[in-house]
């Protein structure tokens, strides 16, 4: 069983700046993600990785710079945001499933209300995605009755029902119990294998190393180092990257 990915989109970010008041969070970020590529953003909390990710689908408005996603120019003030966002799936740290809807309704509500799919079609599509994440047997449950890992898998299925050409993951496993992390990462790996363009903010270095085509290390609003996963994580060239990885991979020190 595998996901089919139709037309993965590329992402080009050029000289992106974002401030909250006097606090400049992104200080001129440029990153290119080719169609079908998996890029992991790593770095300490507050380095700006989540903000960067949220600028891509304009949950945050950058102050200057340019972002293009496939045929959309995300930073154009006149861009059709809703149409663009339908092409971009997003998975949140806290899942953000709709608690008043069943698992199945979570996955059908947008196809039905926004894409105007007939109920039966939307349900068939949703059940297919739920099967792929192994949760079709829980379709009638409420999100609150699911474990964190299950909720996150539903959130991925929900995003995929929109047939996106880019997936954004914002620390998708940070809020999970350790024993459920593997299921979620496994699904993400399948998605990567199927050719989805993915930008993943993560602290899972094992996942980044195994799945990512490229890793981007950010610190204090700038890209410090980027390159193939093995290179950046295995033999980082910048002192800041080395320092960060030493602390992440070996938290107790020596």
């Amino acid at each position: 069983m595998s996901t089919e990915v139709t037309a993965p989109a590329g992402v080009v970010i050029e000289d992106l700046h974002k401030s909250y008041g006097d606090n400049e969070v992104l200080k001129g970020i440029s990153v290119t993600v080719n169609p079908g590529e998996v890029v992991c953003l790593i770095g300490a909390s507050g380095s700006g990785k989540s903000t960067l990710l949220r600028c891509v689908n304009r949950l945050e408005d950058p102050n200057s710079g340019r972002i293009t996603v496939g045929e959309f120019e995300a930073t154009d003030p006149d861009v059709n945001l809703d149409a663009m966002r339908r092409q971009i799936g997003m998975v949140f740290q806290q899942f953000n499933l709709f608690p008043h809807l069943s698992v199945l309704e979570n996955c059908t509500i947008t196809p039905r209300r926004v894409l105007k799919q007939p109920k039966a079609d939307a349900e068939r599509g949703a059940m297919h995605q739920l099967e792929l994440v192994g949760l079709d047997h829980l379709a009638d449950r409420r999100p609150a009755q699911l474990s964190g890992g299950q909720q996150q898998r539903v959130a991925i299925a929900r995003a995929l029902t929109m047939k996106p050409s880019l997936m954004l993951f914002d620390e998708p496993t940070s809020a999970l119990d350790p024993e459920t992390v593997g299921d979620v990462l496994g699904i993400m790996r399948n998605l990567a294998t199927a050719g989805m363009t993915m930008i993943v903010v993560t602290h899972e270095m094992g996942f980044a190393r195994e799945v990512a085509d490229r890793v981007v290390f950010m610190d204090q609003g700038v890209v410090v180092e980027e390159g193939p996963a093995d290179e950046v994580i295995g033999s980082p060239s910048q002192p800041r990257t080395q320092d960060f990885l030493r602390r992440v991979l070996n938290p107790l020190g020596e």
Partner: protein, 281 residues
């Protein structure tokens, strides 16, 4: 002497019980129970109140409250949306309305509609129209704040998830945020219904025909009519309880099984009580 904690707890209970019994005995001896019965529970002499107190009084109270609450809910929802609108003029208008009608006594609104409306505009409102309009005007101000608090109590991630899926803002509001907000505010809204039930009695300042009389009016007229002391008021009061007690039981039930909002914090449900129930009024 050293008392163990258990002894102390027993002693404390014993003292409380002793005081209670002493007061009870004193009351039984002091109070003239015959007089109490004659002025408050003289049910034989007020049998004439039935069945009208139910078929007219209770029924009218329910009607006035129902329509007042219904239109108050509609108006309150609109005001709540205005309060959080991006167009500042809407926010100002809603804030002024809410502050004004929460700040003045409800009875002024009843007087304004009952007398002022006909003097100023030549409007001749029926009792039902006057009562439910007044309740709707006052109720919507309170309900607006409750609903606004409910809308803001929906975690921000809900709106973000909906928008990220490609829902337009209005669609996300209608499909995701408002339904969750209503679930959160059902208990405080029920309390609002209870308050409106009681406030419907204020229509007495305007006066009304016998067929439009609600419970308080019937109780007041009964005092003059039956010479049974305050018994008619006790009957009317009991009728209010027939409405309000089931409502508050309903509110408590809903509060107990309010929706599991677990998308914010995994695993831990309802660590704190809903921010809406506390501090709305």
């Amino acid at each position: 002497m050293a008392l163990s904690n258990r002894d102390r707890a027993r002693l404390s209970l014993g003292i409380q019980a002793g005081i209670f019994v002493a007061i009870l005995v004193a009351l039984i001896l002091i109070i003239d129970w015959g007089a109490v019965r004659r002025s408050f529970f003289d049910l034989e002499n007020v049998s004439g109140m039935f069945p009208e107190v139910i078929t007219i009084g209770l029924w009218n109270t329910v009607q006035y409250t129902f329509f007042g609450f219904l239109f108050g809910l509609l108006g309150g929802t609109v005001l709540a949306l205005m309060r959080i609108a991006s167009f500042p003029v809407y926010r100002w208008i809603a804030t002024i309305y809410i502050e004004f009608f929460r700040g003045i006594p409800a009875i002024l609104v009843f007087i304004a509609l009952g007398f002022g409306a006909s003097l100023a505009f030549g409007l001749n409102l029926s009792t039902l129209q006057t009562a439910s309009a007044a309740l709707a005007i006052v109720g919507s101000a309170y309900i607006a704040e409750t609903i606004r608090a409910g809308l803001q109590a929906v975690p921000k991630g809900q709106m973000e998830a909906a928008r990220a899926l490609g829902m337009p803002a209005w669609r996300a509001m209608v499909t995701i945020q408002i339904p969750q907000a209503f679930r959160i505010v059902l208990p405080p809204l029920t309390n609002e219904a209870i308050l409106l039930t009681k406030d419907s009695s204020l229509i007495f300042v305007v006066g009304m025909a016998g067929s439009a009389a609600e419970l308080t009016k019937i109780g007041r007229d009964g005092i003059l009519q039956y010479g049974a002391g305050m018994t008619p008021l006790v009957v009317a009061g009991a009728c209010y309880l027939l409405i309000t007690v089931p409502l508050s039981i309903l509110a408590r039930r809903m509060e107990e099984r309010s929706p599991g909002k677990s998308s914010r914090r995994r695993g831990k449900k309802k660590a704190t009580e809903s921010p809406v129930t506390a501090g709305v009024k």
